[in-house]
Every structure is written in C-alpha cells, then in structure tokens.
Symmetry: C2
Subunit: 162 residues, 2 copies
DNA sequence: TTTATAGTTGGTTGTACCAACCAAAGGAGT
DNA sequence: ACTCCTTTGGTTGGTACAACCAACTATAAA
C-alpha cells in the first residue's frame, strides 16, 4: 500500500461523486430536447473527429456497436448526421455530421460552456486550465486501463492484482 | 465571451469523456456482483456520513426519493444496511451501514484504489493530489449550480437566486 | 468454401423519472 | 382539547432511456 495508492484512494470520492452526476443532476440541468444526451457525445465525436465508421465510433466510446447503431439512427433521423456508403468496402457506411449537426452541437457547447462558466465563476482561470489538462490525462489513462481490464483480465497483468 | 468562458469550454471535452464512462467502461472494469454499482455510492455515503434519513440521502445525491428507496431495499436485503425507526418522528427510518456493509465497502474501495493506482501508475503523486482537490471543488460547484438550475430556471437567474 | 467483420434488430437489465398513494406531523379554527 | 387541512417521509406502479448480449444479414478476406 504505497502512498501513490493512498492518493488514488483519495481520488475515489470526488470521482464517484462526479460520475454519479451522469444521469441525474447535470443531465437535467443542461439538457435540451433536440439532442438525446447520449447522442451529444456521439455527435461531438463526429464533428471533432471527422468522417468515421460506426465501428470505430463504438470502439472509441467503449460501447457496444448496437448502441452506436441506434444512436446514429436517431441522429440521422433528426438530420444531424448523414451516412454514405464506403466505396472501398460495401459493408461499412461512413458517418459525417451535417451542417445542421455542427450548428446544433456548437449551440449546445456554447450553452454548456456558459453554464459551466457560471458554475465555476469563483474559479481562477489557471485552475480551470489545470483541471482540464489533468482530466484529459485522466480520461486517457482510465480509458486505456479499462480496455486492458476488459479485454484480458486473464494474464495480461504481470504479477498479480486479483 | 470572456476567456473564462473559453477555458470552461475547453473543459467540456474531457468532462464529457469522463462522464461518458459511467455506465460503460469503468463500470464493467471494476464491478462486482455483490454491490449494484449505484448501490455502492449510497453505501459509501452511509458509511462516511453516518446514520441518515432516506430523504437526506436522496437530497444529497440529487435523485428522486423513490430511487433511494429501492436501492436501500436492495442493500438492506443483502444485509449491508439496516434501518431503525426514528423515535422522534415515526415517519422516518434511520439508515445505517452494518458491519458487513462497512467491510464490503472497504474491500471495494481498496480494489478500486488499486485499480486506479495501476491506471495512473505513470502519474506524479502531486498531480493526483492536485486533481483530487480540483475534482472535489468541481463536484461541489457543479452540484450547487445544478440545484440552482433545477429549482428555479424561471426568473431567478440574473440577480439574487431565490 | 470457410471464416471474420460491419452493421442491424430483438430481448433483457439497471437506473432514473413521475404520479399516486399511505402514514404521521404540525398548525389553525372552533 | 379536538378535529380539519396541509406538508412531509417513504413506498409502489408504470414508463423511458441507455447499455448489454445474442442472433442475423451482407460483404470481405483467407
């Protein structure tokens, strides 16, 4: 039980609190009817990541392909994304955000940024920046570790958690 | 559009990513069958917060009372929490974690801390501490802002809330 | 031809909401 | 003091949404 582990233990509390917000408070606080909350993330990924295949989207978000499929269906129906067949592989469709999709997302992001800015009105700007960096790194490492755990909890770990 | 707002806009990405983990990767990565993920949070609150009333728990977690009610039922059934009638008000029951509840939670927390420690093995310890502080503050302010938004989005926005 | 991959659809589960309800408290009016 | 009426704590029923897995079709690749 190193001090590093202890420090991580301390991190658990706030992390749980934050993750707990999903589905509840935050969601309700800044939700629109136009964009089913989970769809927002997908749309954002398409806007920022450019044209992608559905399976890549699923992989990035670490969710089942079926989830992405349904979300895409919804987004497409609302005209926020469009698909075209991949000329190189007729199994895949390439997804892309429409102009309207970009626009809607931009609006939502602006709203959220405002809301967040209000919520953090007492914060030092430097702290916001610092937190952003740390969270980015955290997400990245959590993602990697999740994949590791999910794919091979068998023998990929060298000596022995479990 | 101040730079503060912009900085918050930058924060949105990582934040979304992180919140997206809920229900998916993280959940699966460190989940046990003994404790329904959402129950963990409740149990943690009981362990750390001491004997509480159900309505206070609901308020703290910003969820509907019915949600807490069902979760408590489950936890109680597994012998992780117990309730006793409040002598001062016969409507309320006071909830408390059982010894076994404490034990189970402690195990889970240790597991998680280990997992997290592994995930963040390349991190500077100081950064972990810093992130913990920032996340704590973030949770706190997000919570406050959510409540504000939820309770009175009508006309309470500009000057004095309520 | 056989096997693997991309995507969709059906069925199930977990977690949340709201509405409706019961039981107990707390005030107000007589 | 006694009864009404409103408020509050908690439970239960019904519904929505997002995730999963399994089964299926169509296409590629070996």
């Amino acid at each position: 039980m190193t001090t590093h582990t202890e420090a991580c233990g301390q991190l658990l509390g706030p992390l749980r609190t934050l993750l707990g917000f999903r589905q509840t408070a935050l969601q309700r606080a800044y939700q629109s009817k136009e964009l089913s909350t989970s769809g927002t993330g997908l749309l954002a990924e398409l806007v920022h990541g450019g044209e992608s295949r559905a399976c890549d989207l699923a992989h990035n978000r670490v969710v089942d392909a079926s989830v992405v499929s349904r979300q895409l269906g919804q987004l497409e129906q609302e005209g926020l994304v469009e698909r075209r067949p991949d000329p190189a592989d007729r199994r895949v469709s390439l997804l892309r955000a429409t102009e309207r999709g970009r626009q809607v997302l931009a609006e939502r992001e602006a709203q959220k940024a405002n809301w967040l800015s209000h919520a953090l009105r007492d914060w030092d700007e430097a702290d916001v920046v610092r937190l952003t960096e740390l969270l980015r790194a955290l997400s990245c490492d959590l993602l990697a570790a999740s994949r590791e755990t999910l794919s091979g909890p068998a023998e990929t770990t060298e000596e022995g958690n479990r």
